[in-house]
């Protein structure tokens, strides 16, 4: 039994979610305590496996066991360092976010049991993705995280924008998932298995073009889940959810699932399965996302949206690294990014709560004096994000830039440019929100966050600083046999220092030290375009949804009305109903009719069996 302990990673949160939902619907405190306990339990279990206290492979659960092997579905768990260390990130940040939520949700009038049940379902689904040993199970988890993300974005569903955002996230993900499903089916067809362990070396005999299509289809799943261009539109809107949710799901873990899945495939299929064309597509999508998101972030005013765009841009980095076949660098950046971006979001959450739910940075200001601890932690996160040497983000970004320079210098220069933009918009945020005088009542009366919110911030701040150093990274970065490189002075270092300097100087030159009350860059048409997200969302609404989809839906409706419903269904229903009438007509209640039917049937039976002799 003890070797089946890892199944607790999945069952514990699932069970807790069910209990929260069914039993503690009216007792939010109990629900919170239970969810927190389950997060702590899985975190402890994860530590036990990482430190080697617990070992052993869990049993395989077979659903629908039968003699026809192709019908069976075997669900197993992988326990390699890639999965287990990823679990550490998921459960670790999950635990901190659960803890933070207690402070954040205090006094909220919505149904908090539903919130905690949602968090637990998310923990279950995310663990399913991470521990899945085959693509079918990944897909189950994939859909389940989509579902839990839907529940949590729409937690305040009576707010129309939140309900719309939840719907948008769910539907946008559907588009990507469709490709993903095709990819899974293609993989099953080509490789003959969905099991990661059996995929190795099978890519050799497959034609390159087919392989490219398969990989690109699988990549579609990542495009949806990791919010890459052109499906990036849902992530900024997803910020309508509670901020701890944004930290856990839309920054640290779920959106990174796409990257994790790609790396998992790269590791199990072998790098040769990722054909040149596929790699090219993947890295260009990543690069475009990184650039676009960074540009759009420059003119956002909502503190969470700035962070959301920065998440998009960092995910672009990771996807780009996957495309450059540098899975190691991608996972390194995923790991450091998870800690510091969770820190930034939770810090933003603390600020938002303390400013009476004000999210506009232009209505903040002067927070450095009123909530020094939170601001200090936030600054640590910022330093990691803009890659100041010595902070964790620096090491991982450097790893990606190194890989880019070695493979394709174009991506190196794109990466460097994005780094300058990142520095610029993050400093803009910090200067406007923290320096200068308070510009609104909320910011004037802001007080330091309470204990439940401060503790996770401190823990994450420490991780944001130290997690990149070799002594931690070698043991914790989710990659099989990860080894941190020694740091060298070279072209990448000088270029990233240059972009850092450019970003800092520009930010200081434009925003000074917080004396401005409105954005000097605003008001021109470029700023307007950026604030409107380069009109991509509008384009989707008008052309895709309003135009193409409407036109297409008319065709589908016609087919549905006349061919499917009219001819096929009605005909089938008519026939079955008639036969049904016949059957029950015989059953009229007359005993003589019954004996007659039986008698005729008996004669037929005898004829069938004995006539031939």
């Amino acid at each position: 039994m003890i070797h089946n302990l890892p199944w607790l990673f999945l069952l514990l949160p699932l069970l807790v979610a069910a209990i929260d939902w069914v039993c503690f619907n009216k007792h939010p405190r109990m629900a919170a305590a239970l969810s927190l306990l389950s997060a702590a339990g899985t975190f402890g279990l994860c530590i036990a496996y990482l430190t080697g206290l617990q070992t052993g492979t869990p049993g395989v659960y077979t659903w629908m066991p039968c003699s026809l092997e192709q019908l069976c579905l075997h669900l197993g768990l992988v326990m390699d360092p890639l999965a287990m260390r990823m679990m550490l990130v998921v459960t670790g940040i999950g635990l901190l976010v659960h803890f933070f939520s207690i402070g954040y949700m205090k006094g909220d009038s919505s149904n908090q049991s539903r919130y905690y049940a949602g968090l637990s379902i998310f923990m279950f689904s995310m663990s399913t993705i991470v521990l899945a040993d085959n693509l079918a199970m990944t897909f189950i988890g994939w859909e389940m995280v989509g579902f839990s993300s839907y529940l949590l974005i729409g937690h305040w569903f009576d707010k129309a924008s939140a309900a719309d955002a939840a719907k948008k996230a769910f539907i946008t993900n559907r588009v990507g998932d469709f490709g993903f499903l095709l990819g899974i089916l293609l993989t099953l067809g080509l490789f003959g298995t969905m099991n990661f362990a059996d995929m190795a070396g099978k890519a050799a005999g497959i034609p390159t073009a087919v392989l490219t299509v398969t990989i690109v289809c699988l990549f579609c799943g990542a495009v949806g889940k990791s919010a890459q261009f052109p499906l990036h539109v849902w992530l900024p809107d997803a910020m309508e959810g509670p901020t701890p949710v944004s930290a856990l799901i839309h920054a640290a873990t779920m959106v990174a699932a796409g990257v994790y899945m790609l790396v998992r495939l790269q590791v199990s299929m072998g790098a040769e399965a990722f054909t040149e064309t596929a790699c090219c597509i993947i890295s260009w999508v990543g690069a475009i996302t990184a650039v676009l998101a960074a540009i759009m972030a420059v003119q956002q005013d909502d503190i969470k949206r700035i962070l959301a765009y920065s998440t998009l841009s960092q995910l672009g980095y990771m996807v780009m690294a996957v495309g450059l076949l540098a899975g190691e660098a991608a996972m390194f950046h995923l790991y450091t990014h998870a800690w510091f971006k969770a820190l930034l979001f939770l810090g933003a959450g603390a600020i938002i709560v303390c400013c009476h739910h004000e999210q506009d940075i232009w209505k903040m200001g002067g927070l450095r004096k009123r909530m020094p601890l939170t601001v200090l932690c936030f600054m640590m996160g910022t330093c990691a994000l803009i890659a100041i040497p010595g902070f964790s983000g620096f090491f991982s970004k450097e790893a990606i830039l190194d890989a880019a320079l070695a493979k394709n210098p174009t991506f190196f220069w794109i990466g460097a440019g994005v780094a300058a933009l990142t520095t610029f918009y993050m400093l803009r945020l910090c200067i406007v929100a923290f320096m200068g005088p308070a510009r609104d009542h909320g910011a004037e009366h802001a007080k330091e966050a309470g204990f439940t919110m401060a503790l996770p911030l401190l823990v994450l701040a420490v991780m944001a600083i130290i997690s990149g150093y070799g002594f931690l990274a070698n043991d914790l970065v989710p990659f099989n046999g990860f080894h941190a490189h020694g740091f060298e002075l070279g072209l990448p270092f000088y270029v990233s220092m240059g972009s850092l300097a450019v970003g800092i100087l520009l930010a200081l030159a434009i925003y000074g030290l917080g004396s401005r009350t409105k954005d000097p860059l605003a008001g021109n048409c470029l700023s307007k375009a950026l604030r409107n997200r380069l009109y991509i969302d509008a384009l989707y609404d008008k052309v895709l949804i309003g135009g193409l989809q409407q036109a297409f839906s008319h065709v589908i409706e016609f087919l549905d009305m006349f061919v499917i419903r009219g001819i096929i269904c009605q005909l089938l229903v008519w026939i079955t109903v008639r036969i049904g009438y016949l059957c029950s007509w015989i059953q009229c209640g007359s005993l003589r009719a019954y004996t007659l039917v039986s008698g005729i049937g008996l004669i037929i039976l005898v004829l069938i069996l004995a006539y031939q002799f």
Binding site: T576, V577, I579, Q587, L591, L605, L609
Partner: protein, 482 residues
């Protein structure tokens, strides 16, 4: 000719114990008129559960006997919760007089089933089958103040007599052809030795006997063409009796069919004429049963009649297993019966509860249960979902095995591939009529002034246990593999 008994007494210990218990209860009923009759129900149910325990843990696990004993016990427990209606329909309102045997007789029938599972020759088979049937006649017509029950009793008696006649006739042909009542592969082999060419008369007579004997067992199973009694009798008979007929009696039918059909297993190989005939016979009967049961159920509005048609339809899915006589037929059939029994018994408990408190057995009486009794409604939903075959319930798993069986059979007998689309269509109609009940509970408004149901103790416990078992066995399928 002399008949040598091949049985030992201890084979029948559980059966004797149950008969003894029934005799005790009937004596007590006569001698201790003051004793509340519900005690008999409780004692009787416990007796069958103890018997079931010994059957499951004995040297040779008797899986059919186990299912039948549990089902009998549960239907007696159902009668325990049904006393209000029983008293009204037997002796007039509020009076318990004459209800005692109603709890004791199922024990006798159960003893019959337990003997049946041990039968290795036609005489034992026939006698134990008649024990079940005769008891069922009494039980079906027991509610003498209820016209439906009397009608059900008469119809069951007449049609049952016909089936008994067929069975006796078949037995006579059997004895006449092979000179023995024994059931076994060796008898079949010797009868078929000459084949069609060598001894055509013998082969013809033997197959004729087989056809008649099969027909006798089809009556109990509710397979076409002997299914005609089911809708009327199920609807009219007292609900506890219907539950007994639907599960325990059907199990008995499959015991008979297994012992009749399994000796033919060596013949079911490609190229054998007998094998081909048997496969055709089972395929045709299964197809007719599936169509009649599932399509007939679609327009039913009475819950018991619906469950009657459903029991015909489910029997069709079980009959498909007999296409692979060489495979683990007994195992698969018992597994399917278990899934069917758990869901059906629970459904009958729900029907009885609604009948007692809302006074109606129509599907319409279930309206609004989702609002007034959300938990009970959920339990009932799981039962019907399992009957329909929704994934993650045991019902899905066994229905899938039925499909696996037809696909396996098609590899050797591609001439029966037309059965597969019929199974698909009838499984789909299952969703229609089972979900009619679920729709009534959640989507239709309750009649004005409908009170929440008070869930009786036994009903609550049995429903919960059945649902837990359905979900647990449905998600942990390997448990049943051993």
């Amino acid at each position: 000719m002399n008949i040598v008994s091949t049985y030992t007494w201890c084979q029948f210990t559980p059966a004797f114990a149950l008969v003894g218990l029934a005799a005790l209860l009937i004596l007590a009923d006569a001698l201790l008129p003051r004793l509340p009759k519900r005690i008999y129900a409780f004692v009787g149910a416990m007796g069958t559960f103890v018997a079931a325990y010994f059957l499951a843990t004995g040297e040779q696990t008797d899986i059919f006997g186990f299912i039948a004993a549990i089902a009998t016990g549960l239907s007696i427990l159902l009668a325990f919760d049904y006393t209000k209606i029983s008293c009204e329909s037997i002796a007039g309102s509020g009076n318990e007089e004459g209800t005692g045997e109603f709890y004791a007789l199922p024990l006798v029938a159960c003893a019959g089933i337990l003997c049946l599972t041990q039968a290795r020759d036609l005489v034992m088979l026939f006698v134990s089958l008649e024990v079940i049937t005769l008891t069922s006649y009494v039980l079906a017509g027991y509610f003498r103040r209820n016209q439906g029950s009397i009608e059900a009793g008469i119809k069951y008696l007449v049609l049952g007599a016909m089936s008994t006649g067929v069975l006796v006739y078949g037995t006579a042909w059997y004895f006449g052809m092979v000179g023995s009542f024994n059931l076994g592969s060796d008898v079949v082999v010797s009868a078929m030795k000459g084949g069609v060419a060598g001894s055509p008369v013998l082969a013809f007579g033997f197959m004729m006997a087989t056809a008649l004997l099969f027909a006798g067992s089809f009556f109990k199973i509710g397979a076409a063409p002997m299914h005609v009694w089911i809708p009327d009798v199920y609807q009219g008979a007292p609900t506890p009796t219907t539950a007994f007929l639907a599960v325990a009696s059907k199990t008995a039918g499959f015991v008979v069919l297994c012992s009749l059909a399994l000796p033919f297993a060596p013949f079911v190989v490609p190229g054998s004429v007998v094998g081909k005939l048997l496969v055709w016979c089972f395929a045709l009967v299964a197809a007719a049963t599936l169509l009649i049961g599932n399509l007939g159920a679609m327009r039913q509005t009475n819950m018991k009649r619906l469950l009657g048609y459903s029991s015909i339809g489910q029997a069709g899915f079980i009959l498909v297993f007999f296409l692979t006589l060489n495979g683990p037929v007994v195992f698969m059939v018992s597994k399917y019966l278990l899934a069917y029994a758990l869901a059906t018994i629970a459904a009958f408990f729900a029907v009885a509860m609604v009948r007692t408190q809302r006074g109606s057995e129509e599907i319409a009486a279930f309206r609004g249960l989702g609002k007034t009794n959300p938990r009970t409604a959920f339990l009932i939903t799981v039962c019907f979902a399992s009957l329909a075959g929704v994934p993650l319930t045991l019902g899905f798993l066994v229905k899938m095995y039925s499909f696996v069986a037809i696909i396996t059979a098609m590899e050797s007998w591609c001439c029966i591939c037309w059965l597969l689309p019929i199974m698909v269509i009838t499984a789909a109609t299952g969703f229609y009529y089972y979900f009619k009940v679920i729709r009534a509970m959640y989507w239709e408004k309750a009649a004005p002034g409908a009170q929440p149901l008070q869930v009786p103790l036994c009903t609550g416990i049995v429903l919960t246990i059945c649902v837990l078992a359905l979900i647990y066995l449905g998600t942990m399928p390997l448990l049943l593999q051993a």
